[in-house]
């Protein structure tokens, strides 16, 4: 069964015809967005992280039809307005916090939420926020360094 849904995607209105079996990632893919991507399909790896009404969700577990009237943001929203990188993205590059890069958008999305809530995160807070994101290349030490660097930069800016 297919239905029509309307939602806000990265600040723009979007209307899509979706299969009730589609998840949010299926729809975003058809909208030409690649940053949130499905990997484990069980909401355990964080590769598909997106914000729905400002809260991070696993897109692979989020039915597309539930996006109706929601405000959806993906990593792409960060770089639409200007070409400059977000401090989190910049810190990930400088700390070498990725290798294959498949998990990176999810980590950036969760790190931004972490730093919104905890501008000076403790080790426990970093672990808590990023426990749902997996990196098979094992760049966790570099990711932790990047989170700290981004926190410093944001604090210095404010």
């Amino acid at each position: 069964m297919n239905i029509d849904i309307e939602f806000e995607l990265n600040g723009r209105p979007e209307r899509r015809h979706v299969d009730v079996r589609d998840n949010a990632i299926d729809v975003l893919g058809r909208c030409g967005l690649k940053a949130a991507r499905e990997s484990c399909g069980q909401g355990l790896c964080g590769c598909c992280t997106l914000y729905v009404d400002g809260a991070p969700v696993s897109g692979c577990l989020y039915p597309a039809w539930k996006l109706q009237d929601k405000r959806v943001e993906t990593l792409e929203a960060l770089n639409e307005a200007n070409s400059e990188l977000d401090p989190v993205q910049q810190a990930f590059i400088e700390c070498g916090a990725f290798q294959c890069g498949f998990c990176t958008p999810g980590f950036v999305m969760m790190t931004r939420k972490l730093l919104e809530a905890h501008p000076r995160p403790t080790d426990a807070q970093i672990e808590h926020y990023l426990a749902g994101n997996l990196c098979r290349c094992g760049t966790y030490p570099e990711i932790i360094a990047a989170v700290r660097l981004a926190a410093e930069r944001i604090a210095a800016r404010n």
């Binding site: 970093i126 290349c137 094992g138």
Partner: protein, 761 residues
């Protein structure tokens, strides 16, 4: 030995990945995102039994699902590919099962539909009737079982050294490799002490976060394949062979890989995607779920019995190694793991008398193949665990025991090859210094006890293999590299750009690295076994040197003394009167090699380079639960010159962390029927951010690979070698319990402690 090291301009200084911005903005290309006009989606129907005869497959209900384009079985595949068996060493794996199934999860049918949902729904309606046969799952049992996984052996005709196996019946042994040096029997007779231990490893999966995916679009006389592959060149050859076509009728394109680790090698989904595209006359996408990957390729479980004769001073006089590799139902590259890693089973030690028997066996489990380390982590686990046992029993410091026996440059390896540019003693010494091995530490008392362990492993770079590259200089002076090395996170694109920069003097950041497209990019054996830095590094160096020679000739031609790397474009304008023309340099690299003797495994030149990695750990065990914490992990490797130190650091710690996952958390669990209980991430846990050691240190020793490009060699696997045995040694050091079977779980430690207490009581 001191070698003159030419000064480096660009290499040796860290450079961030060229594609960094694309990766942090989510815009890097992966095959995962490839979509073609008119593309259909496939879903695989899998065997529910481990071993059986296919009676019938009923596709009626599946075909009736709206949106289904076709439901295909092995019989349909035969219509388009008459000999549908593939594999890099043995042509034993059918695209879809024919007559028999050999493991739970083996593909038996495929649905092709307009949407993944329709394909999935229909796949659940395919009725597969299988007459169940007894299955054999354990590698030791399979050696002597009368249950045979294959009726007869089918080695690939391309390998001369496998030809004698063709058609052999009534065996599960795909291949046996022997190595023999000196006189083991006499040495064991005269030994002061003999140690004999058996160590086992378990089945694990690579778990790349970009699940395997291939999209095929086969036209009348040309096949286009977009695939997440570490081997575009092999994929082209193999698809051409299956179709009976020429290589230039097959195009393989890859992108960045979201992790490979050895699972995306040779061909996996490509033959099925091609066959389904031919049967449906449309582009077809075959994409696995995370769970399905566990039914596709894995790492070999092993049983390694190691027997060592030692003299009074702690010198190893002789060593016998019997390694049995559980290859699962299809050989994949297992026989090569058995040989090419098997010969390093005696370890990085100078032992006069050695016998190795390394056996690849078939069982009714999912196939096993290459996995970061190509068999070395399983071998090091055993020989370094035994090193620790011997040292402890003889009252020798475990570091000292290793140093006393270590293979130094100039000594002969068990294969007979003289060691060169292999910093084994240096890695051990530096590791001990860095770790503070000789310094006292708090051992704890009461409930929490601390311990330490270390270990070292070596790997021979797989040989003989060939890499080809081209470096193009465009008319504005900008440079591109064409090569089939696949960047799956190891930073090869960046390194190849740095090599061009080193030779031509252009900034590395401006060099473009073209992703593999077999219509345009030349042959490379594979992106595997940490071979690319060495082999492709040389090929790109040669190609850049060739381009430079051509640019110099052009300069001379137009009356200039030399080439100005800052203004190459001016040269083209002077030569062609406008911004026009292209200069293409090419490079081919194949190192020297001597095949091992058929009976003794001896060779004067078994490998172009040795990769060395050591790990030391300090851990704390909770004696009430067996739970343990890794307080510190130090890794030291020899990678020759660290050509891009930033990426080298991440490769070392990443390899160690991944290996730690397979040692502490991960295990594919099978029941007696061969059913896998835990496919998928909900019950197969890989390390997360909270699972890493509290402190991780990485270092490269000051070393130079004499025959390497700019003194370098590979590093992607070295961080994995010493992890498992160092952890087991640290646990014994802390609580006196020796784990001999991976993974190292708290309950095993707890049981060991309880058994010890009962013994003492």
């Amino acid at each position: 030995m001191t070698t003159e090291r030419p000064p480096l301009h660009r290499l040796g200084k860290g450079l961030r990945r060229l594609e960094a911005v694309d990766k942090v903005t989510g815009r890097a290309d992966y095959t995962h995102h490839v979509s073609l006009p008119g593309m259909l989606h496939a879903k695989i129907v899998r065997s529910h039994v481990a071993h059986g005869r296919l009676r019938s497959i009923d596709t009626t209900a599946a075909k009736a699902v709206p949106g289904v384009y076709g439901v295909f079985t092995g019989a349909d595949i035969l219509k388009v590919i008459p000999e549908p068996y593939y594999g890099p060493a043995f042509h034993d794996q059918p695209i879809l099962a024919i007559d028999k199934v050999r493991y739970v999860g083996e593909p038996v049918a495929a649905v092709v539909a307009e949407s993944p949902h329709a394909a999935e729904e229909a796949a659940g309606l395919v009725q597969v009737d299988i007459e169940e046969l007894p299955a054999v799952l354990d590698e030791v049992e399979a050696m002597h079982s009368d249950v045979y996984v294959h009726e007869s052996l089918r080695p690939a005709g391309t390998f001369a050294d496998l030809k004698h196996l063709d058609g052999i019946r009534n065996t599960n042994v795909a291949l046996t490799f022997h190595l023999k040096k000196g006189d083991c029997e006499a040495a064991f007779k005269n030994a002061h002490r003999v140690f004999k231990n058996t160590f086992k490893t378990h089945q694990v999966m690579h778990v790349p976060l970009e699940p395997m995916v291939s999209v095929a679009d086969v036209r009348h006389s040309h096949a286009y394949l977009y695939t997440a592959s570490q081997t575009p060149s092999f994929a082209r050859t193999e698809i051409a062979r299956l179709l009976g076509w020429k290589e230039n009728q097959v195009t393989i394109k890859t992108a960045f890989l979201g992790g490979g680790f050895g699972c995306k090698l040779y061909v996996k989904l490509e033959p099925l995607a091609v066959a389904l595209s031919m049967l449906s006359q449309r582009p077809v996408r075959v994409a696995l779920t995370m769970a399905e990957q566990f039914y596709t390729i894995t790492r070999h479980p092993t049983t390694f019995t190691i027997e060592s004769a030692v003299d009074e001073t702690g010198r190893i006089l002789a060593r016998r190694c019997e390694v049995i590799w559980n290859g699962g139902a299809y050989a994949d590259i297992g026989p090569r793991v058995t040989q090419k890693s098997g010969f390093t089973a005696p370890g990085p030690y100078d032992i006069a008398n050695v016998e190795v028997t390394s056996v690849a066996v078939y069982t009714n489990r999912p196939p096993a193949g290459a996995f970061r380390g190509f068999g070395i982590p399983q071998l090091v686990w055993a020989y370094e665990s035994q090193s620790d046992i011997i040292a402890r029993e003889m009252g020798i410091d475990p570091l000292e025991f290793r140093l006393r026996n270590a293979l130094a440059d100039g000594k002969r390896h068990a294969t007979g090859t003289v060691m060169k540019s292999a910093a084994i003693p240096q890695v051990l010494t530096r590791l001990a210094e860095r770790f503070g091995w000789h310094e006292p530490f708090e051992r704890g008392s009461g409930r929490y006890r601390r311990g330490r362990g270390l270990g070292i492993g070596i790997k021979a770079c797989v040989s003989p293999t060939t890499s080809v590259a081209a470096v193009s200089v465009a008319a504005d002076g900008s440079c591109s590299v064409q090569c089939n090395t696949v960047d799956m996170g190891q930073g090869s694109d960046t390194l190849m750009a740095m090599i061009v920069s080193e030779v031509l003097g252009v900034p590395a950041e401006t060099v473009s690295v073209v992703h593999p497209d077999t219509d345009a990019s030349p042959y490379d054996m594979a992106t595997l076994g940490s071979r690319s830095t060495f082999h492709m590094g040389h090929a790109v160096r040669l190609a850049a040197e060739d381009a430079l020679a051509k640019l110099r000739a052009m300069a001379k031609d137009v009356g200039l003394d030399d080439v100005d790397p800052g203004n190459l474009g001016a040269l083209f304008v002077r030569k062609f009167g406008m911004q026009a023309g292209t200069v293409i340099g090419t490079g081919i690299y194949k190192p020297t090699y001597q095949s091992p003797d058929k009976t003794t495994g001896q060779s004067e030149d078994i490998t172009p380079n040795w990769m060395i990695g050591g790990t030391a750990m300090e851990i704390e065990v909770d004696t009430e639960t067996g739970m343990y914490t890794i307080l510190r992990m130090e890794n030291v490797v020899d990678c020759g010159t660290a050509l891009n130190p930033l990426v080298v650091q991440t490769q070392i710690s990443g390899a160690a962390i991944m290996q730690l996952g397979t040692v502490t958390l991960e295990e594919m669990e099978f029941d007696e029927q061969g059913q896998l209980r835990n496919a998928g991430l909900s019950e197969y846990k890989i390390p997360g951010i909270q699972d890493i050691p509290r402190a991780i240190g990485c270092e490269t020793v000051d070393a130079y690979q004499e025959n390497g490009p700019f003194g370098g060699k590979g590093v992607g696997e070295s961080g994995t070698f010493g992890v498992a045995s160092a952890l087991a040694a640290a646990i014994e050091d802390a609580v006196g319990v020796r784990i001999t079977q991976l993974p190292i779980r708290p309950e095993k430690i707890w049981e060991g402690m309880r058994a010890k207490q009962e013994q003492q009581a």
